[in-house]
Amino acid sequence: MSDTPLLRTPLFENHVALGAKMVPFAGWEMPVQYSGIVPEHQAVRKAVGVFDISHMGQFIVSGDDALAFLNRSLTNDVSKLEIGQGQYSLMLNDAGGVIDDLILYRTSQLEYFVVVNASMIDVDWAHLRSLLSSEEDVHMANLSDATAGLAVQGPKSRAVFEKIFGSEAVFPPHNSIFVSADDAGFMWLCGTGYTGEDGFEFFSPASNASAWFDKIVAAVREEGGVPCGLGARDTLRLEMGYPLNGNDLSPAKTPLEAGLGFFVAMEKEAFTGKAALTSQKKAGLPSKLAAFKMTGTAPPPRPHYPVAYNGEIVGEVASGTQSPSLSAGIGMVYLPTEAAKIGTAIEIEIRGRRFPAEIVKKPFYRKDGV
């Protein structure tokens, strides 16, 4: 156990006042739930929910060489970003393994806004700095400590947005970013999320986070929604098959193995990890991240449970939970490539007993059964 004291977001007191159950997550003391994971999950699928995402990290990277620098540091093609657009991308080590997954937004001609995972802020920052040469015109700022963030997710997000920002305000389109400023500081408003639902996220100065949160919670409740914790955040993202770094992504696995090839621009001249990915592609992937669903009554699959294929243990559950939408156990697991095919039967070992599961297509959950 680490003795490092847990960090608290500027909304800690708000969460406690709302009766949240606080747990350690990625070095932070975060709300895992308020009313319960299932009701919070259902609120996001059917109405709306608000999440504290202040623990996440934000960098600004700017300058004449910012585009070239980011393009050789990350996997996706940064040159495709118009001002106001965002893209999912990955930061790799030289072996092609995933250091972190992130969203990169272009906020102006020469400026980019990067949102990274809470547990990786220091690692990502150091990694990017190490790739930067002194001749380059690149300026980096780490806003993580000064910035709070909220995610509003669910079909009623637009109604909440209108209540908060007024009916004249433009709801940020999917994967877009608007930057604004007032006396209190900057606000980065993004059309992104981690739930598969319509929604928006914004980052703004920590000093006024509490006022924003109270206002949004009130608007969310008026629309039949609730504040949501990390428990629901995890079940929601897993139903969509979205990876979580630390569970589904690791320095030992490449984005190709994780099924994220779409976000790797192999046609780019060079980027960290490209050589390793090229040779892995040539040799064939040793493993692939597969989505599985329990096929009968079984305890929920959870991370690290052993996974058997053809009777042999071949890996362990990366992410796993009971899907509130499907009322079934779902999860993801790295399997030998030949086993990672839709319909393959596997078994999840839970407390010494093996329960059947099947490889299925992602996402696990589709809106209105589409």
Binding site: P299, P300, Q322, R351
Partner: protein
Amino acid sequence: MSLVPDHLRYRDSHEWVDASQAISPVGITDHAQAELTDVVFVDPPKLGPVKAGQQVCVIESVKAASDIYTPVSGEIVEVNAELSANPGLINTDPYGAGWIYKIKLSDAGEASSLKDAAAYKALIG
């Protein structure tokens, strides 16, 4: 405020038993079910003899798997078959239809080491 019936006895790990009966149901408290929330699976105990404090089964919520310890020694003579189809009974009726197993108590005196309702209420605040 959680329900804590006066006629039951409680283990610190939040299981209840009715020590006045020769064969008593055992379950988890209202407080415990509220903490767990959303019970989705019950891994039932094996029938047969058990010692007080022994881990006998596991209750799974979306959040976590929780071990259940028998508050008293005796023989587990029945498990609640309803829970396999409807584990949420533990949430909706923890002292009634949400019972987990029935135990034939081997030593009714053992229950005196468990908390009474007042002491359990003090424990959960």
